[in-house]
């Protein structure tokens, strides 16, 4: 397929692929095993300007958007989704500052996010508020020129490693979504600490931790947008970043297909390469077709978002839903093509299958994506009446 990328997009894609192949792939299994945060790989991504691709030039970026970010995430994910999500989560924390920050806030935080010298993170989820994000309990109480935050965030990607956190808290839990408010909280702020680091099924190179706020004083300058706008900030952010999760899924799936196709053309059983058996060949055909369909959808949604289209929620949900389901199916099939070898940690596909699963869960489970898409479809039908 030819997606008619611009020269700059080609450079971004090629460089990401080069780093993925030469620097990330050789160490993917090692980080999966050790669950160590891959700082030296993150530094390479930073030095290569990959954190800058989606940031406007006035903040030291390269002036691209969601599309360019997706290109990077896709290529990195072919080698290791754990590294890729650590990269992507910085955009998840950075986009809300870019979209809702004041000029001063953007000047303060974006250049370092663009250079990759600081990682960002986004904290919405709590122990009792996952899909039901409107139910958060972390409170923010205004006290003079500060807000005082109390509560615990759970499963925050880049937790402990990032320097800049966009945190959604509530001014009044009784108000539900209308009480929710977004803050920029810097690592090192007193009263802000990190809890346990999770042991995960996949994306084990990435860090997932609790954020603990105990009378954490956040200056009013760090209020993001206005009081009561936190839910909106979160939802608009996810509209921008769900294509990134989708791109991650496409990359994982492509990585698995590449490995499976290679294996099918070398493994011999019954005197034949297994790729010559129609059962295997057709599996590869379906995998390749599904991946290409997912990629087309993701790219189109990313383009649409970058073009400034306002109503993107349904499309972003579709990209995330479709691509992540494809990734789960394709990685399962890749393990199947590898047979018993595929089940072994010595081969890369079982990791890809474990990694794929998360794309159906975070940034809204696929059940939630279907609810978003379904309710949009019904709303459109009612409007036509």
């Amino acid at each position: 397929m030819n997606y008619f990328l611009t020269e700059e997009q080609e450079i971004i894609k090629e460089l990401s692929a080069k780093i993925a192949e030469e620097k990330i792939a050789p160490r993917a299994a090692e980080f999966d095993e050790s669950e160590e945060f891959p700082w030296n790989l993150i530094r390479i991504l930073a030095d290569s300007d990959l954190f800058a691709v989606w940031v406007p030039e006035e903040y030291g970026g390269l002036g691209g958007g969601v599309f360019e970010q997706c290109l990077v995430v896709e290529e990195l994910s072919r080698a290791c989704a754990g590294v890729a999500v650590s990269y992507a989560a910085s955009a998840l924390g950075g986009f809300p500052i870019l979209m809702f920050g004041t000029g001063e806030q953007k000047q303060r935080f974006m250049p370092e996010i663009a250079s990759g010298s600081k990682l960002a993170a986004f904290a919405l989820t709590e122990p009792d508020a996952g899909s039901d994000a409107g139910n958060i309990r972390t409170t923010a109480i205004r006290d003079g020129d500060h807000y005082v935050l109390n509560g615990t965030k759970q499963w925050i990607t880049n937790g402990g490693e990032a320097d800049v956190y966009v945190v959604i808290a509530t001014l009044d839990p009784e108000k539900g979504p209308r009480g929710m408010t977004a803050f920029i909280v810097e690592k090192g702020t007193s009263g802000f600490d990190f809890g346990k680091k999770e042991k995960k099924m996949g994306i084990r190179a990435s860090a997932t931790t609790e954020l603990i706020f105990k009378d954490c004083k956040v200056p009013v300058e760090n209020l993001l947008d206005k009081e009561g706008k936190g839910f909106l900030v979160a939802m608009r952010t996810l509209d921008k970043t769900r294509p990134g999760v989708a791109a991650q899924a496409v990359g994982i799936a492509q990585g698995a297909l590449d490995k499976a196709a290679e294996y099918a053309s070398t493994r011999v059983q019954f005197g034949k390469r297994i790729g010559e058996f129609q059962a295997i060949e057709h599996m590869l055909a379906d995998m390749a077709t599904q991946i290409e369909a997912a990629r087309s959808l993701v790219y189109n949604v990313a383009w649409m978002i970058d073009s400034g289209e306002r109503h993107v929620t349904k499309a972003a949900a579709m990209a995330k839903l479709f691509a992540s389901d494809v990734a789960m199916k394709v990685t399962c099939d890749a393990v199947q093509i590898f047979g018993g070898y595929g089940y072994m940690r010595d081969y890369p596909v079982e990791k890809m299958m474990r990694d794929a699963k998360i794309t159906q869960i975070y940034e809204g489970t696929n059940q939630i994506q279907r609810s978003i898409i379904g309710s949009a479809v019904i709303k459109e039908a009612l409007r036509r009446k």
Partner: protein
């Protein structure tokens, strides 16, 4: 600090095919890369520049396509790239090549350090670096694994040997050839790649160099390739065991007598 890196474009594969009639490399249908050892040279130069300031100039002699190799070095952060390309340079052996490169460095003007890879993966001679140093009449150190210190007048390096390393202090200007141990070459950046695409690669022809035409290209190349073959692998040495120095000496003596060497 003015740093010059000599860069060669080589065929991608390490298993190059050889034309049995002419005893030269078959280059058709093989994609090209920057000689991997030269990437270490570029990395070393960039590190010195990043720490001490100055300029990194990469020079390559080759066909017009070799410009791609130079652009790669620009993407990594080299300041300037010069391609020596002329029919008159064609067919050069290591003598003519090192003469031509040395003439280009002289034309460049002031320089403090010339850095080369230890050898090119196609020809594998490891002669061009030292050859350039001889033409320039400057000291050289080969197989450098670490630059320990560099000032305006001196450089202190480690030279890899089979047993370990030598520490060598040399005056500047000098030439060093580097090995893999110098450190992983950096990845290019997007900004660097974009800059490199737009940057100008300067081309110098024979006319641009104040060179003796008879020493260029084929006419300046006395080398005759008689035969190309893989050398036999040297068998590893034998370690004489023993519980004490005394016993080891006795065992050695026995072995030498056994072999009628004593």
């Amino acid at each position: 600090m003015n740093l010059v890196v000599l860069v060669k474009q080589v065929p991608e594969t390490t298993d190059v095919r050889i034309d049995r009639k002419t005893n030269t490399l078959i280059r058709e249908g093989v994609s090209s890369i920057v000689n991997p050892f030269d990437m270490y040279a570029v990395e070393q130069a960039l590190q010195i520049r990043d720490e001490h300031g100055g300029r990194v100039t990469c020079i390559s002699m080759g066909p017009p396509q070799a410009e791609a190799a130079l652009r790669e070095t620009l993407a990594l952060g080299a300041d300037e790239a010069i391609l020596l390309s002329d029919k008159a340079f064609a067919g050069a052996d290591t003598l003519a090549t090192s003469y031509t490169l040395a003439e280009a460095i002289l034309k460049l003007g002031e320089f403090d350090l010339v850095i080369c890879g230890k050898q090119a993966i196609d020809g594998d001679t490891a002669q061009v670096g030292p050859g350039v140093a001889e033409h320039l009449d400057i000291p050289h150190v080969t197989y450098v694994s670490k630059v320990e210190e560099i000032s305006n007048r001196h450089i202190r390096v480690r030279r890899m040997t089979e047993e370990g390393y030598d520490v060598i202090l040399s005056s500047l200007p000098a030439l060093i050839t580097v090995v893999r141990e110098i450190g992983e070459p950096r990845m290019p950046s997007i900004k660097g790649t974009l800059r490199a695409r737009k940057a100008q690669v300067i081309t110098w022809t024979a006319g641009d160099l104040e060179a003796d035409e008879l020493m260029l290209g084929l006419s300046g190349s006395p080398t005759q390739v008689a035969r190309i073959f893989s050398p036999e692998i040297r068998p590893g040495g034998e370690i004489i065991e023993g519980d004490s120095a005394h016993e080891k000496a006795r065992n050695l003596l026995a072995r030498l007598k056994e072999s009628h060497l004593l």
